[in-house]
Symmetry: C2
Subunit: 212 residues, 2 copies
Amino acid sequence: MRIAELSARSGTSIPTIKYYLREGLLPAGTATGRNQADYGEEHVRRLRLVRALIDVGGVPIATVREVLAAVDQTDLPPHDLLGVAHCLVPAATRRDHDDPGWRAARAEVDAIVAERGWWVHERAPARDAAADAIAALRALGQDDLLENLPVWTDAAERVAQAEVAKVVARGEPAAMVEGVVTGTVLGEAVLNALRRLAQEAASARLLGATPG
Amino acid sequence: MRIAELSARSGTSIPTIKYYLREGLLPAGTATGRNQADYGEEHVRRLRLVRALIDVGGVPIATVREVLAAVDQTDLPPHDLLGVAHCLVPAATRRDHDDPGWRAARAEVDAIVAERGWWVHERAPARDAAADAIAALRALGQDDLLENLPVWTDAAERVAQAEVAKVVARGEPAAMVEGVVTGTVLGEAVLNALRRLAQEAASARLLGATPG
DNA sequence: TCTCCTAGATAGTGATGCTATCCGTAATAG
DNA sequence: CTATTACGGATAGCATCACTATCTAGGAGA
């Protein structure tokens, strides 16, 4: 198919598709002439994935490129599958990692990981990300909210277990990698939205209000 | 205190503080002369909150302004407390809401809300956000991952219940509103990071790998 | 042939989140 | 009592991001 059809089938404008081609988010079609190329189903699929990551997941272009490069590395050992998802954690904030408050939060995260018996790389970016957020809550004097850390950890553990099980059940490496990416990013979006809904429901229940 | 001290105490540059003042994220200090103003502890506190929302939560400036305006509306009825958090859900994507796939996803969300007996506003933005993500997963053919919807819903329910309980326990309205904002945004950051860690752990466990 | 489409290149756009500079005034150190 | 520094306020500039528009030269289909 030519670019016009790819555009129609994916709901993405032609200039945007060209931009993604330039940025390496989408492989070039097979050239059939000096200025003609042919796109296939895999381009439609890839384009839909890109749009989902960007629109729903809010993943920046540069990160999408990295992730897709990893996705296309089909010769990954199974264990490194989730390594792909590491690219998806935004780089650490500029927070001062020498700040005692931050170091305490980071130690707290490490303690949780150890206590749960989680096998996590010592330098996983998610450790820092968790520490950032915990440190921020403490700095704001919201320590009482952090009493829910065990609840959060439990929830994270259950959810992650179910998710990884589904992905592993696929068996085929390519499908697994794609499951990791979509599951991590879009699953996060689903979970966050459900949490907001549940919060509204819980507040209505506890404060005995009538919905507006 | 003057702006230099406010800058030092909050770790935010003076130009940035001036920018926040212009943008209405930070109330002006009490003027003590034609070109002098005095800032207090509440400015340090507010500035730290602003930085946490922006740096850790990734909340855009315009949204921070809306949220803070709501926070300062101290005469809210308790039930509307969580309404403040609604401002924090990013506006719906440009996804076509007439798309049948999206409408099905939205119906699925409504079914979950009904089944759980959640009391949620019919037009809550989180309903649309959840539908966006679910529709994207279906469009990408990742239906097997959506079999985890009950697991996600359970997790969201437990977490939200604990969180709302903590906030309600505070009693004082001003502290409750601040708890809603920080809990929603920073709690989300903590939860997402913990989920990533748990995923890595679960994958190591299921695939029997050794940490690198 | 005539018109439209195409790939590829280059440049421009609008939003966001700061950052830099200037001005006239005020505190303050010597 | 000056010299230096800091201040508030205003304006303008900058870097990044994610597109979007335009141009060129070359096919494709009627």
